[in-house]
């Protein structure tokens, strides 16, 4: 029995795809796989899921109050689901289906059904090191699958993969930097997944003058325009806390000045454009005046 994790692009989503326990799969067609969406007290977790055509979605009410799962296009309606109850629906056509809880209409979710899907990368990649992507196609599609990568200049071919009997495929790519990949087969294109390549180093030099500390930041290889974020380790914030961000200049440098109230640990992260997802981090230095 396979256990896999579906690619979920929602803000708060973790959808576990399982081959299905005997109880969970009772009465279901064996074809396709099963995605699980937990119904929480005030939301679907996760609110958006990508599945392959022919997969089944199981919603389980993990909260203490009654919910429901109703399609906006009226294609399904679970009725009232008390605590612990489950509802299942198989999706046999590619496309997007949005749904909501009729008892709490602010609770909304979305199922995106694809003929080909790449699994979300579970780990970061080493720069210029082989990295295996996995995915699935809908029943009846035989491949081969073309893998396309985009590291900033548009999608180009990055590999191919043969489709196995169970619909799964594996492709090896070699990202030199953080790259978005998608799979293309039989006229269908998967959503892109991002492979983060740990290919950068961040160096900082701290200079203190009075209460101000200036950090000279440099990133290799050159990453002009990318964002660096200064984090301070603050007791009030129970950990590392972003306090400043800057964009790297044409020489891949940035300068950040801070005046913390006391002497605290500091580090600089190179991040994705979201300013939060870490690509590389500097050593820890200290900023601010002692005492």
């Amino acid at each position: 029995m396979r256990r896999r994790t579906l690619a979920v692009a929602g803000a708060l989503a973790t959808v576990v795809l399982a081959g299905g326990s005997a109880a969970a799969m009772t009465g279901m067609d064996d074809a396709g796989e099963t995605a699980h969406v937990a119904i929480q007290f005030a939301g679907f977790d996760g609110p958006q899921a990508d599945i392959v055509t022919g997969d089944t979605v199981h919603w389980t009410n993990d909260s203490v109050r009654i919910h429901s799962v109703v399609a906006d296009d009226a294609s399904f309606d679970s009725g009232r689901l008390p605590a612990g109850a489950m509802f299942a629906r198989r999706f046999d056509q590619a496309g997007t289906v949005t749904y909501y809880c009729s008892l709490h209409p602010f609770m909304r979710g979305e199922i995106d059904v694809h003929d080909v899907l790449l699994d979300a990368p579970a780990t970061h990649a080493g720069a210029d090191k082989p990295y295996v992507l996995t995915g699935r196609v809908a029943a009846g599609i035989t491949g081969p699958v073309t893998i396309e990568g985009d590291s900033g200049a548009g999608f180009t071919a990055a590999g191919t993969a043969a489709v196995q009997d169970d619909g799964g495929f594996r492709a090896t790519v070699t990202p030199s930097t953080t790259t978005a990949y998608r799979a293309v087969v039989a006229g269908a294109t998967s959503p892109a997944v991002q492979v983060v390549a740990l290919d950068h180093t961040v160096t900082v030099k701290a200079t203190r003058r009075g209460t101000a500390t200036t950090l000279a930041v440099h990133v290799e290889p050159a990453s002009t325009g990318q964002r660096v974020v200064l984090q301070l380790r603050l007791r009030d914030r129970f950990g590392w806390w972003p306090v400043r961000s800057a964009r790297l200049d044409a020489q891949s440098n940035a300068t950040i000045t801070v005046r913390p109230a006391s002497r605290v640990p500091a580090r600089v992260l190179l991040t994705l454009p979201d300013g939060a997802t870490e690509l590389a981090r500097s050593r820890t230095v200290h900023v601010g005046s002692p005492g």
């Binding site: 979920v8 929602g10 803000a11 708060l12 989503a13 973790t14 929480q40 007290f41 005030a42 939301g43 679907f44 977790d45 996760g46 609110p47 203490v64 709490h104 209409p105 602010f106 603050l234 009030d236 914030r237 129970f238 950990g239 590392w240 806390w241 972003p242 454009p273 979201d274 300013g275 939060a276 997802t277």
Partner: protein, 308 residues
């Protein structure tokens, strides 16, 4: 057990408060834009109370916020005074006024779908309602991308207190869910302004319960005060849940004379609480619906010591 009602205070305006010098009514201009941003509801990446860690794929999302600008939207300004909220973009600008003031809220939509601003607690004509109703409402309720609208409001004698504002356009469902809301804070004509004003907006967000769109201690606002400060808590709920506002180590007096340390607030309800601070320490404030607290609706309030 020691019981000491430390503080003379108030809910929703029944302040037995010191009075401020008389001020003449003003026309107050506020420049606001709807701006797409990327928001992280958990910048420290974890729930410090349980040790649970979260990946940015679970906590970072694109959204649209109300952002304060200088005149004619020339440059962005902080949404709130230092110490009053999470010092970030949610909630939207804290709009302050006094009873009798005229407010001109100049709104520009920098997003790619329509938005609006709808204000509670103040007086206005239908053209400043900002609420979409097909066949009836005007451009105030459906401000298109790149367009502007000026909402004309009056703080009446019945406007004292704190009030929500939020998107009420055809896209309000998604935008309120993403944090497109803020607060009006209206003082009486002669009422003393607080030394510290804290904004607490309870709002569910998927599997998380947030304060000012942040979840778990350290991520939610860290409020500061000193003994002797007149502190004011502006509390409201957005979304579709009710909540209970509770502060540790402090009590306040309701208009009927009852000491309280917890108050219920329903969706789009709002109130303010005031006290004269005198209890140094690090205190928790949170929603006392325990599922909400454990899902992130909790923060800390630090009262320092004045130097001798």
């Amino acid at each position: 057990m020691r019981f000491r009602v430390a503080i003379a205070a108030v809910i929703a305006g029944a302040v037995a408060a010191a009075t401020a010098p008389a001020a003449s009514a003003q026309v107050r201009d506020t420049w606001v834009a709807a701006v797409p941003v990327t928001w992280n509801l958990m910048p420290n990446g974890h729930d410090a109370l349980t040790g649970m860690t979260y990946d940015t794929s679970q906590t970072v999302f694109p959204t649209v916020v109300y952002r304060r600008y200088s005149g004619n939207w020339r440059r962005p300004l902080p949404n709130a005074p230092a110490g009053s909220s999470n010092q970030d973009l949610i909630p939207g600008p804290l709009i302050r006024a006094r009873v009798g003031d005229q407010l001109r809220i100049h709104f520009k939509n920098m997003d790619v779908v329509s938005h609006s601003m709808h204000f509670h607690g103040v007086h206005y004509r239908p053209s400043s309602d900002g609420a979409y109703l097909p066949g009836f409402s005007g451009p105030d309720a459906d401000v298109q991308p790149g367009k502007t609208w000026t909402y004309l409001l009056t703080a009446g004698t019945d406007s004292r207190g704190v009030w929500p504002y939020h998107d009420h356009s055809p896209n309000m469902d998604a935008s309120i869910a993403g944090g497109m809301y803020g607060m009006l804070s209206i003082l009486g004509r002669h009422e003393a302004a607080p030394d510290r004003e804290f904004e607490v907006v309870f709002h569910e967000h998927g599997a998380f319960q947030t304060i000012d769109e942040r979840a778990f201690v350290g991520n939610t606002p860290v409020f500061f005060a000193l003994p002797g400060d007149l502190v004011q808590w502006d509390v409201m709920a957005m979304g579709s849940e009710h909540h209970t506002f509770h502060v540790h180590g402090h009590r306040w007096i309701t208009p009927d004379g009852t000491p309280r340390d917890t108050v219920t607030v329903g969706a789009a309800e709002s109130f303010r609480i005031r006290w004269r601070e005198r209890d140094p320490g690090t205190w928790l404030y949170h929603c006392h619906i325990e599922q909400h607290m454990m899902a992130g609706m909790i923060g800390i309030y630090r009262v320092g010591q004045r130097k001798a």
